[in-house]
Amino acid sequence: RAQLLDYTLQLADTSLILGHRLSEWCGHGPILEQDLAMANIALDLIGETRSLYQYAAELESQGRTEDDLAYLREAVEYKNPLLVEQPNGDFGDTVMRQFIFDGFHFFLLKDLQNSPDSGLAGIAAKSFKEASYHIKWSSEWIIRLGDGTEESKRRIQKSLENLWMYSGELFSMTHTEEQLSQAGLIPDYRTLQPQWEAHVGKVFAEATLEVPQNVFMQKGGKTGRHTEHLGYLLTELQYLQRAYPGLEW
């Protein structure tokens, strides 16, 4: 149960932080339609976040609420992988971060729908539909930018090179994940990775992008060792809850 809580929090932190990053785009997108699309994905992720934190609060049964869990922890207590906390950069960086994540998210939720844990399974089933839209959106944009102009290709290839080192952590399993997987509650990520690689490889090929080779994979976020970017994100995210503890909004 403690491990299930731990894992649920990790998923919640992940969608929270990525949703937050996407929401930073609101009003600043390159095309009005994409402003809408990114807000949509952010909303889906925040919705998923809420369900997950609510479930975590239930598992924990200490009277903490979704907002306590989202707003009142220290940077080192957040368990999201490093990828999702990376800054937005340009639109290509955001699309690439999303694309790397979406494949993972899609295949994970697909399996997680069948978890014997009905809490996780229910949330996964709902979010899986949304994730199917996300992966379509980001894959299309990878292809458009890769197989677009010379400039767009140069930029998105660069985004790929900058972000690829954060892709490995998605599939590297923590102690908690290993145990939950052995207990059959969550998929073995080693079975997800080939599916993800197939999808990613196909899209990159169509986008005429080259996957960087022999990249040293960074990890740490899932055990609370973040990059310095997360702290600044949290100062904004948590500001009002910190400034006025315990109030209703």
Binding site: C26, A39, A42, F91, G148, E151, L233, W249
Partner: protein, 319 residues
Amino acid sequence: METIIDKSLEELFEEKIANEIRIEPKDWMPEQYRKTLVRQISQHAHSEIVGMLPEGNWITRAPSLKRKAILLSKVQDEAGHGLYLYSAAETLGTSRDQMIADLHSGKAKYSSIFNYPTLSWADIGAIGWLVDGAAIMNQVPLIRTSYGPYARAMVRVCKEESFHQRQGFEIMMTLCNGAPAQKKMAQEAFNRWWWPTLMMFGPKDSESPNTEQSMRWKIKRFTNDELRQRFVDMMVPQAEFLGLTVPDKDLKWNEAKNGYDFGDVDWEEFWNVVKGNGPCNKDRINTRVKAHEEGAWVREAALAHAQKRVQREAAKNVA
């Protein structure tokens, strides 16, 4: 010969207007009617887009996940409104690109209210409650406006706006029923937004040159002063309900007119903001221009890719 045809077209047009029959994109319409509409609809579209900024400013700092989702969703709705309205304006023969270029060059205007900054979370409540409230008052009559696409866009816009207004009121209510610091925050925001909101109805009737023609064409249905009065009469009881003090020492119920007397707007401030000297005019336009310029490569790539696809399809069909 042409004159005669034109005249009969004009007569037809005037007849439709008189009988409340909608003008549609393919119908003949006077050049001035078309121009007025493009100006008004694009200004309205721009207001939605620029209006995303002051509220967007608090998305990352929203105080709860629920509020964050509601706010993000609201700002997203505004982007959606912008889209319908640009489409409606495009039916009159002006492209979205052209309209955006006019916004960025300063030729086209947008609602001055968005040149005020959002300085606290309560501003999000105040904007929803007051600004959306005023917008609805301005816009509901537009559902009956004479130009079809605009009228239809307004149906959806108004429906969503009243939803937003309720959310804004709810934020204010939560703050006003909350801790003293929250109530203070609400009053402070109310103080800052009250007068700019009254300015949203435009100059006094005596100084509004376009009103008469627009009313005649049924683009506009009420005068600025009429709408302003209705707004004050509607909002004062709501403020009282919230326990907020209207920052107007001249406010007084007038039994005779069955409405409130209220102080005069600071017209000097009004014209300053209209002329581009509001607290955020420069920031707002710079932000929009920056987003547009930084997105140029994305738009070019999307276009280039679409063209490649078309060519590949064509090549396939030939083969």
